[in-house]
């Protein structure tokens, strides 16, 4: 009987364990900041202006799936930030003027993709066709998409959500 209980318990643990490991990429659950100042997925609209100055372009676009109108802050030196209300919902970084701070890890355009290897080994191993990604938060909604060139230099970091 004890053996049976143990077997059931081990099986239960395996089930839970496997459920959490089914993704092929790493998940980062902490705070994500741009240049260690602008908090992603938070009210950061004003802070963005304070830190990066007045955007070169401010546009709006309708997001039909969310049924929201997004405001785009476009900085021609390599960044685009998209807000719904004041929340930073999405960003695209294409120059080394900007970076993503994830805990103690700094993800930056211009770095080698191998820079993520130690912190995000699964995402590093899952590189393909010049891209890889890191899940954010619960891992079913926000993602970081990282693109790198043939020299393995990161060229673009963007967030995506579903």
């Amino acid at each position: 009987m004890k053996k049976l209980n143990l077997t059931i318990f081990v099986f239960f643990l395996m089930t839970i364990s496997c459920k959490g490991q089914s993704t092929k990429i790493d998940t980062f659950s902490g705070e994500v900041k741009i240049n260690n100042q602008i908090v992603f997925d938070e009210d950061s609209k004003q802070a963005t202006k304070n830190v990066f100055g007045q955007p070169v372009n401010i546009t709006t676009e309708y997001w039909e799936m969310s049924d929201k109108t997004a405001t785009n802050y476009i900085y021609t030196n390599g960044a685009k930030f998209q807000f719904t209300s004041d929340t930073l919902e999405r960003f695209v970084l294409t120059s080394s003027n900007y970076y993503v701070q994830m805990g103690s890890f700094k993800l930056q355009v211009g770095n080698n993709i191998s820079s993520i290897q130690n912190t995000f080994p699964k995402s590093y191993d899952y590189r393909e066709s010049g891209t890889t990604s890191i899940a954010l938060g619960a891992g079913d909604y926000h993602f970081l998409l990282i693109k790198y060139d043939s020299n393995n230099v990161i060229t673009r970091i963007e967030s995506r959500h579903f």
Partner: protein, 450 residues
């Protein structure tokens, strides 16, 4: 000299009448085309004496897409049967079928059951040619043709309700099953004792959904005579456009159309076997929830199912391999489409290409929208019935799988119910035959499609 010319013209005329759709080597075909051992005399008579039918006539007179099939009784020179196969499918879909030589199976489903008659080839003429040829047929005194269209030579309807045959159907279908879809043609024609005639709806699968529009339009559909296939009888079947029947090849569709006699490499000849049909209320056969993020079991369902319950998901994601056929869950009218995205084109927070269909369900007006399509197969104003192919699934808009972001290919179904003149978002699952548990698994006991 004149005799020779006359003889030559006569031969040409006969060839025009009988040879257009059948295999060009029509004489040997005649004997094969119809094996009358499968018919009773009364069945034969019944088929020859349809009531006049204006719906049929008008349809046959305007066959923008279609072909003509002549069937001969063994030993006779006049066609026993002549009909137009009209392509009742959005013109952008059937455009590529023009000129195709379609491999078909002709089967008879009579009171004793379904029986295979034979394989045949049918050339789908280009629309102008079709019209021209029909005009010739109708003006050259081809009496037998006029009779078979429902009128005798005097223009009066023939009428014979004394035949004992209740009904019989002819199924014309055949094609290939390929890894990514079907190359298939399907048609059903039925006769009833009451004179009702069910105009065939033929669907040719095998194009890539591209092609430009022209002025043509589909004809077909049921007429007032309305006929339902007998229980257990053949269904014209579903199926859908074949996407790439050249696995490992150059990706072109050139090898994937139903006009080819032999199946393309990697494809299987399914003969007359219909492609699978989903249950009414389902967008695909055996639907499954597509978890969001690839591993969250419940994020594909309607409601606050994402982002740890903080984000509302306005719809139900049903797994659908890229470029697979999507079927109308319910009948209705296409009220809106978007077809501006290239297959796989990404746009944040966008539904990509979609089809929106207005249905009346249990007295309610409901709009069901099918999103992230790669190919839209209908047009605004089209009337669809449940099970009609409305397009092909895809990853347009915010549904693109990028490396490591495990977006499971799916169709996002969104539902709106009209209440007090307002559209209210509702759970699409309310209108699905298959029901799901909260963890995304199929709720077998609640499902109407098991």
């Amino acid at each position: 000299m004149y005799i020779r010319l006359y003889a030559f013209l006569s031969i040409c005329a006969v060839f025009l009448i009988v040879g257009n759709c059948d295999n060009p080597t029509s004489q040997p075909e005649k004997e094969e085309l119809l094996d009358f051992t499968y018919f009773t005399e009364s069945q034969y008579k019944a088929a020859r004496t349809w009531k006049g039918n204006s719906a049929l006539q008008s349809a046959v007179n305007v066959p923008p897409y279609g072909c003509y099939v002549s069937v001969y009784q063994d030993g006779e020179t006049k066609p026993w049967k002549f009909w137009s196969i009209a392509l009742n499918y959005p013109k952008r879909i059937v455009k590529k079928a023009e000129g195709a030589k379609v491999k078909v199976k002709i089967r008879i489903n009579d009171v004793s059951g379904e029986r295979l008659i034979r394989m045949a080839n049918c050339i789908i003429p280009r629309a102008p040619k079709a019209k021209k040829m029909l005009k010739k047929l109708m003006t050259k005194g081809a009496r037998n043709v006029r009779e078979d269209l429902g009128q005798n030579n005097s223009g009066k309807s023939s009428d014979n309700n004394d035949d004992p045959v209740i009904n019989s159907c002819i199924i014309v279908q055949g094609g290939y099953k390929c890894p990514d879809g079907y190359c298939f043609v399907s048609e059903e024609m039925c006769y009833s004792r009451e004179g009702g005639y069910s105009l065939p709806e033929i669907i040719v699968y095998g194009d890539d959904g591209g092609g430009s529009d022209d002025s043509g339009g589909g004809t077909g559909g049921d007429d007032d005579g309305g006929y339902d296939p007998p229980d257990g009888g053949p269904d014209p079947g579903g199926g859908g456009p074949c996407i790439d029947c050249d696995p490992g090849g150059d990706g072109s569709d050139s090898e994937c159309d139903p006009n080819a006699i032999d199946p393309p490499a990697g494809c299987e000849d399914v003969g007359g076997a219909s492609p699978p049909d989903p249950c009414e209320g389902n967008v695909v056969e055996n639907p499954e929830i597509a978890p969001s993020g690839g591993w969250n079991e419940w994020g594909g369902q309607f409601g606050y199912t994402r982002n740890s319950g903080n984000t509302f998901h306005d719809g139900t994601d049903i797994k659908a391999d890229i470029n697979s056929n999507l079927y109308a869950m319910h009948g209705g009218t296409v009220t809106d489409i978007r077809d501006s995205f290239d297959p796989g084109e990404y746009k944040p927070d966008s539904y990509g290409n979609y089809v929106r269909i207005k249905s009346t369900l249990s007295g309610d007006t409901v709009y069901l929208r099918y999103n992230h399509l790669n190919t839209v197969g209908v047009e605004v104003g089209d009337t669809v019935i449940a099970g009609d192919i409305i397009g092909r699934s895809g990853n347009t808009g915010n549904a693109q799988e990028m490396n490591g972001i495990p977006v499971i290919p799916h169709v996002h179904i969104r539902a709106r119910k009209v209440e007090n003149g307002q559209e209210k978002r509702v759970d699409p699952e309310n209108y699905m035959a298959t029901k799901f548990n909260n963890d995304g698994s199929v709720n077998v006991s609640e499902s109407n499609c098991n």
